[in-house]
Amino acid sequence: MLDFLISPLRKLGHTSINAIWRLGYASRFLISILMYSGQSLMRFSLVIREVYFAGVLSLIIIIVSGLFVGMVLGLQGYNTLARFGSSDALGALVALSLLRELGPVLAALLFASRSGSAMTAEIGLMKTTEQLDAMSVMAVNPVARVVAPRFWAGVISMPVLAALFNVMGIFGGYLVGVVMIGLDAGTYWSQMNNAVDLHFDVVNGLIKSLVFGIAVTLIAVFEGYDATPTAAGVSSATTRTVVTSALVILALDFVLTAFMF
């Protein structure tokens, strides 16, 4: 009878302890990445190689989704604004919603599922096939050689991708608003110019994407490094990367928005 109550409680306790333990472990992992970053930043070609895999290969998905998000914003925004007779403000609406929220958040979500999961799978597979062990037996620290370059590559790529997403979105809004619906091009840009502030909107959006980049990449490399070295372990670590990243991005977005705007 009492077992009925105790065992779920025990399970809850176990889960919470586990979660806190993993959080602490991840923080220690971040510290060791930062400690060994010097070595990998000295050999910048390692980071460049990872920027290629994390950033350059994400260009297509970012360009296409940015364009479509902008077009949808243009269409929906126009329909709503037209109801209040202020369809001129479409440029401001598209630019502000992209710069402040949609650009950083959606780019980070795409980055997590495209590059974050790839990083986790790659590192997890290296662990499974004893490549990380082989490295440390060869007196090469795997955190310095494998993890830190990927971490920095992610941190570098994320703001670039978010900025590109914003530009493509604004262009998508332009396509729908000006080319398709026929608003005045000058009004589109000038409304945007009046509404958008460099520091308040552009810089804050980029800061957001930088924070997301750090969070997503840390989660990705940590899950990979911590994966159970089996096929099932790597696949569940990859899933965890995507799910945890999505939750962390949205939670951080709320916190950052509360502080910034």
Binding site: S45, I48, R49, V51, Y52, G55, V56, L59, A95, L99, S157, P159, V160, L161, A163, L164, N166, V167, I170, W189, M192, N193, N194, V196, D197, L198, D201, V202, L206
Partner: protein, 164 residues
């Protein structure tokens, strides 16, 4: 994949990133490099500035000629002390008047300058003396209501006298 190919692609990638940030700064946020050289400062005191904010535009005949840079309360005379940075290209006469206006019914508030007839122009740091305050909607409504009520009173007075 060849090392040089990767380098090239990453170079392109970073160039795209820089281009995007430049585009966002210049084209979207309209960052016009405003140094202290290209502007001059004027001040004006208002009884009530309503919802005027720092960075609000200063317009003359609807053209933006500058921005509000500072708003503070003058604690000796209890009036709002507004500082504006105006474009050096635009000169205004000494008897220019400043008023706080609203763009549209519910839009943002801005400072409107109306040119006077004095041949001398305002020097940097000068104060605009002729000002009129912001229209505060509540005051407007209450004034309107009051006059309406007075009218009603006199009407009912008339009715009462007529009944007698």
């Amino acid at each position: 994949m060849k090392r040089s190919t990767i380098d090239l692609w990453v170079g392109i990638f970073v160039a795209i990133g820089i281009a995007c940030v430049v585009f966002l700064s210049l084209k979207v946020a309209n960052l016009t490099p405003q140094s202290a050289d290209s502007t001059y400062v004027l001040t004006a005191d208002f009884d009530n500035i309503g919802g005027l904010k720092i960075k609000a535009p200063v317009k003359s005949s609807g053209v933006v000629v500058g921005r509000v840079t500072n708003v503070e309360l003058d604690t000796q005379r209890y009036v709002a002390h507004v500082t504006m940075a105006l474009d050096r290209h635009y000169q205004f006469s000494r008897d220019t008047s400043a008023e706080i206006l609203t763009s549209g019914l519910l839009g943002e508030q801005y400072v409107g300058l109306t040119e006077g007839g004095d041949p001398d122009t305002l020097k940097p740091g000068d104060r605009i003396t002729i000002t009129s305050s912001a229209l505060v909607l509540e005051q407007l409504i209450s004034k309107f209501m009051l006059s309406f009520a007075e009218k009603g009173d006199s009407n009912s007075g008339k009715n009462a006298s007529a009944a007698q």
